[in-house]
Each structure stands twice: as C-alpha cells, then as structure tokens.
C-alpha cells in the first residue's frame, strides 16, 4: 500500500521539487535572498533558482567548508543566504564552519539539508542523512524544521526566510502526500495536531506524519482513536502541545526517519519524562546504517512503516491500560 493511501491522502511530487519551487517563490519575492549550492543544484532543485536568477545563485563547487563560510560572509552584508546541499555533506564536511560561522555567530542564514533520511534509496548509506537532526541538535540556537507535506514545505521555506536567525530545513528525495490545504498555517515552534484522538498520540515528523495517519486509520477500525501530531519544528520544541497530548491521551508513539539515538523521539521523551511521564514507544532507525535499495523496500526492512507505528501503538495502548 502506498504511503498515505490508507489515510485517504492525495499523492504529490517529490519534496525536493516542492522545495525548489518554494525557494524560487521566495527569491522572486525577496531581493535579499541569495542561493548557494555545493554542485548539487539539480538534486536539491535549487537549479530552478539558478535558471531564473543566475546573478543571485552561486555554485561554490564541491567544497562545503568554503560554501558555508561564503554564505556566512554574505549574511554579513545584510543578504539572506540559503546554503544548500545534501545534509550528509554539509554536516560531515562543514560542521565546524556551521558551528562557528553560523551558529556561534547567530547569523541570519538558512541551510537546506536535503536527502534526509533513508528514502533517497539506491545511492546508499554514504548519501543518506540518518543522523542529520542529531548533528544539527548540537547547535543550540539553530531552528530545525522537518516539513511533512507539500503545503508545509512551502510554508516552511517562507517562514524560515522571514525568521531572523539561523534555520536548518530538512528536505527529502521522496514524494510525500498532501496532508494540508495550500493555505495552511505554519508557525515555527508550533506543532500541528493533524488528527484528533484521545486513546494515544502518534508524534511524527517528515514522511512519518503520513505513516502515522495511515496507522491511525488502521487503529480506528479497532476502535482505537489515535491523535497524530506533526512536530515539524524539532527546535524550539512545542512542549505545551506534547505535554497536553500526554495528559489527554496517556500514551505516546514517536515516529521518525532518523536514528533513534539523538533524534526527535529521544527529545520528546526528555520532555515527557520531565513533565508528564506516560508509556512511550519509538519508531525509528536502530543503531545501523542502511544499504542501497528501493525506498519502500528499505522502509519495510528497517521498520519505518505505518504497520510498525500501528504495532507500537497497540503496544503502548496496552501498556497504558495495564498501568491503570
């Protein structure tokens, strides 16, 4: 079954294409926005900007350290740089530069980390961003955005550009179905309750929001009403919405296309443990790299499907009942 099918969502085009289109819109609207590329513009889709605004597009070449610092320097002249590449290359080649020139400097710079997660598929583990959010988590002042559908990607690119300060945005190679209407409201740091329910809560980000909605649809057939929260902002974390969900539903499953170690789930658990301890389960990547393969095949193999969320949901729901 296709992602989002069970939840009745409409299929769309790959998120990277949505990102490219959204960035182009932002560049058209705001003359201060410039785009820097690490020679991957046809993969990240920043080439859409380059085709229309060559004078505001810079391919710095295969040199991420240089790329990040040149972007930082441009921010020093009042421009708003979008620094773009695969998350794995930016974070692993230029962590030091992101740390000093962007984070410690608290610059108004935007970073696109594309090809997050394992769903880029066939290119294999060297290109996959399975640890990207944990690594960005090491920058205390950087906003972290993980959009879950076309409309929220568009809104996130705009919100990131308008926000004054450093922002990291995760993009993916795969298509994510439409969850929200085009005019959806997107506020940095404000999670969206995508589906209401009071038996348990599924908290997801990126494609796992849709997987969570699919799982919720399956659970409904057995009379279990799952709430689904789209935690599109990992930092600053919407503590109120998470705690409220724990209070009202008493059980939580987190779902992410990322290592469990240092990802969204572990950060939600930190909040839950402190404010409202309830049973939790985690869907994510165990301590392993992922090999080349079809995205669907890999998601199945590494237990990142709606089915996996569903079974964890049943487990946590039972745990909640046993507690009583």
């Amino acid at each position: 079954m296709q992602l989002g099918e069970r939840a009745g969502l409409k299929q769309s085009i790959p998120m990277r294409d949505i990102f490219g289109e959204s960035l182009l819109e932002v560049v058209r609207e705001n003359p201060d926005v410039v785009v820097l590329d690490g020679d991957l513009g046809n993969s990240t889709k920043t080439e859409l900007v380059r085709n229309e605004f060559p004078e505001r597009s810079f391919n710095i070449g295969i040199a991420e350290s240089n790329l990040v610092c040149i972007g930082a320097g441009m921010a020093g002249t009042g421009l708003i740089p979008w620094i773009t590449s695969f998350s794995s290359f930016l974070l692993c080649n230029a962590y030091d530069q992101l740390r000093l020139a962007i984070s410690i400097s608290n610059l108004n710079a935007k970073i696109l980390g594309s090809h997050g997660g394992i769903t880029l598929g066939k290119d294999g583990p060297t290109q996959m961003g399975i640890e990207d959010l944990a690594l960005v988590g090491g920058f205390p002042n950087v906003v972290i955005l993980v959009p879950s559908d076309p409309a929220s990607m568009r809104a996130a690119v705009k919100a990131a550009t308008d926000y004054v300060g450093p922002v990291w945005l995760r993009s993916s190679r795969i298509a994510m179905p439409e969850i929200y209407p085009k005019d959806m409201e997107f506020t940095i740091g404000k999670a969206i309750t995508t589906r209401d329910g009071d038996d348990l809560t599924i908290i997801g980000n990126g494609m796992m929001v849709t997987a969570g909605l699919d799982a919720a649809a399956a659970l409904e057939e057995d009379g279990i009403n799952a709430r689904v929260i789209d935690l599109h902002t990992l930092r600053p974390m919407d503590i109120d919405t998470i705690v409220k969900a724990a209070q009202e539903t008493g059980a939580i499953v987190t779902a992410e296309e990322h290592l469990l170690h240092g990802g969204m789930g572990s950060n939600v658990a930190r909040v839950i443990a402190e404010y409202e301890p309830v049973p939790m389960r985690f869907v994510g990547l165990a301590d392993t790299y992922v090999e080349s393969g079809d995205p669907e095949e890999l998601l199945e193999k590494y237990h990142l499907t709606a089915k996996d969320i569903e079974s964890k949901a049943r487990e946590v729901f039972a745990a909640k009942r046993n507690q009583k």
């Binding site: 410039v34 002249t77 020139a101």
Partner: protein, 281 residues
C-alpha cells in the same frame, strides 16, 4: 565613495601606537593568566598599518556602517591584539581589555561575532577567514557597496584545506577587493612550521592558485602600508601579502620560542623585563 577623515600619523607616532598595543596585549594576557601573547605580538605592525596608517576605512563610533572596509582576524588566537586595536580605534573602551577571558565578559578568548563592536567574524578554528571574506565581497557586489576586505591568516593556518578551497574560489570570483595578509612568523604551536608540516614553496602555491603575491618585512609599518597600497591597484585577481615576521616580536625571551604560543607572562620578574623591553623599543 564616502571619504573618511582619519588622523595621519608620522612614523614615530605609528611606532608609539605599536608599542602601546604590545603593552595592552601584555597587560591583558597577564591579567587573564593566559592568551596568545606571541601570536599577537607578531602581527602588531600589520594591524597598525591597517587601522592607523590609512588602509582601512572604518568608523569606530559606527561599527555597522555598511560601506566599511572589513577586517577579518582569521587567526583568531590573536584576539588580544584585535581587541587592543579595536579599543584604540574607538570601537569600545580600553577598560574592556582588562576583562579578557573573564566569565560574563564580552571579551572572549577568541573573537565571537556580535560580542564586541568591530569584530567581523567568529574565529578560532583555523582556515575560515578568506571564505568569509569572499562572502562579504560577493555580498557587496549584489548590494552594490564599495568596500575592501582584509583577512589576516597565520602560517600554520595554511595547512588547513579550507584555505586552499577559498584560495581557489577567490581567484574564480576575481575578488580584487580582497587582500589576504599572511603573518609568516615561521612557528606553530608544536614547533617550527618547516619541521612540523612544511609550507614551502609558499609564494608559488598562492601564485599557482591565481593570486597576486607580494612579500614584506612584517615589522616595518611604512613598508607594509606602501605594499598594501600597491596591492589595492591590482585588478581581476585577489592579492596576498606575505609578511615575514618574528613570533613574539618585541620581547627577547619570547621571540622565536614556540613554547610561548598559548601562554601569558605570569612571572613578575619576566613581566618587568617584558615591559621594559617594550617601552624602550
């Protein structure tokens, strides 16, 4: 281009400024109990030329002036010198220098953008300054601002791969308003550069990356200024001034002794001796 009226100093006055800067660095690092004294001393004349002999256009009372020339201290461990210069240039009170490396003080051990006016970049992990400078140049082209960018790098810093990434990019973008100055004091933390990780042939390396090069005695202020002015006229390519310096310049027992790299003078007798040598220079 806005004309900035700056006082012009005689050679004698410039030497006095350099002497004052060395005293401020000595005092600040000794008070802090640590700090890169010798790396600061080797660059004193270079910064004296840049800030006080008519090279940089800046307004100490308007640090965010958008047409200002940029100075980026890529060798961030020379922070004590940078702070002493910025104080003297009117960016902030000289009293701040005595809070170097203190908790709660904005005068951090290495420069942090936004902490002190006049600091253009967060540095301390080496190799990043020229890349940042290129960003300012490209940003200036888009925002149609006319300014120049000066970046001070160290010799050991040239071992960092990013230096050569940025060298390639500066030539590619023909950043003729970017001038790098290399403080070639021949020592790094663990010993002589030539012994630890040799750089030579250094001039040829920069030339082969498409840069215009010049060499100068890095302790002769007037020569530095004269050469920098000639580099300002080079078109279509970035320039680098390789300044031959003495690490620890100004205090005999610190000079060329690499074990002083990250140390301050703490012994009262040594402090007196250092003070005497600087004041008599």
């Amino acid at each position: 281009m806005e004309n900035i009226k700056k006082p012009t100093y005689s050679e004698k006055e410039l030497k006095t400024i350099a002497r004052d800067l060395r005293m401020d660095i000595l005092k600040a690092t000794t008070k802090a109990g640590s700090g890169h004294l010798s790396s600061s001393f080797s660059s004193v004349e270079i910064l004296t030329s840049l800030f006080f002999d008519g090279i940089l256009r800046y307004k100490g009372d308007e640090p965010e002036w958008s047409d200002r020339d940029r100075f980026i201290m890529s060798k961030g461990h020379a922070a004590p010198l940078l702070y002493a210069v910025l104080a003297k240039a009117g960016y902030f009170s000289r009293d701040e220098l005595w809070r170097l490396r203190e908790a709660g003080s904005p005068v951090q051990g290495h420069p942090v953008l936004g902490n002190m006016p006049g600091v253009e970049a967060t540095t301390g992990s080496l190799g990043q300054g020229i890349s940042l400078g290129i960003g300012h140049v490209l940003g200036g082209r888009i925002t149609k601002r006319k300014f120049s960018v000066y970046v001070l790098i160290g010799d050991g810093e040239c071992q960092a791969g990013q230096i050569w990434e940025s060298a390639m990019a500066a030539a590619h973008y023909k950043t003729d308003n970017l001038i790098a100055i290399l403080d070639y004091n021949k020592f790094q933390e663990m010993g002589p550069v030539s012994r630890e990780m040799a750089l030579e042939p250094l001039v040829e390396k920069w030339k082969s990356f498409g840069w215009h090069t010049a060499e100068v005695d890095g302790h002769n202020i007037l020569e530095i200024t004269k050469t920098l002015k000639s580099l300002q006229t080079i078109k279509e390519k970035p320039s680098i001034l390789i300044a031959h310096t003495i690490k620890g310049k100004g205090v005999s027992f610190v000079e060329k002794d690499y074990t002083w790299h990250g140390r301050a003078i703490k012994d009262p007798e040594q402090y007196k001796q250092a003070e005497k040598e600087i004041l008599c220079s």
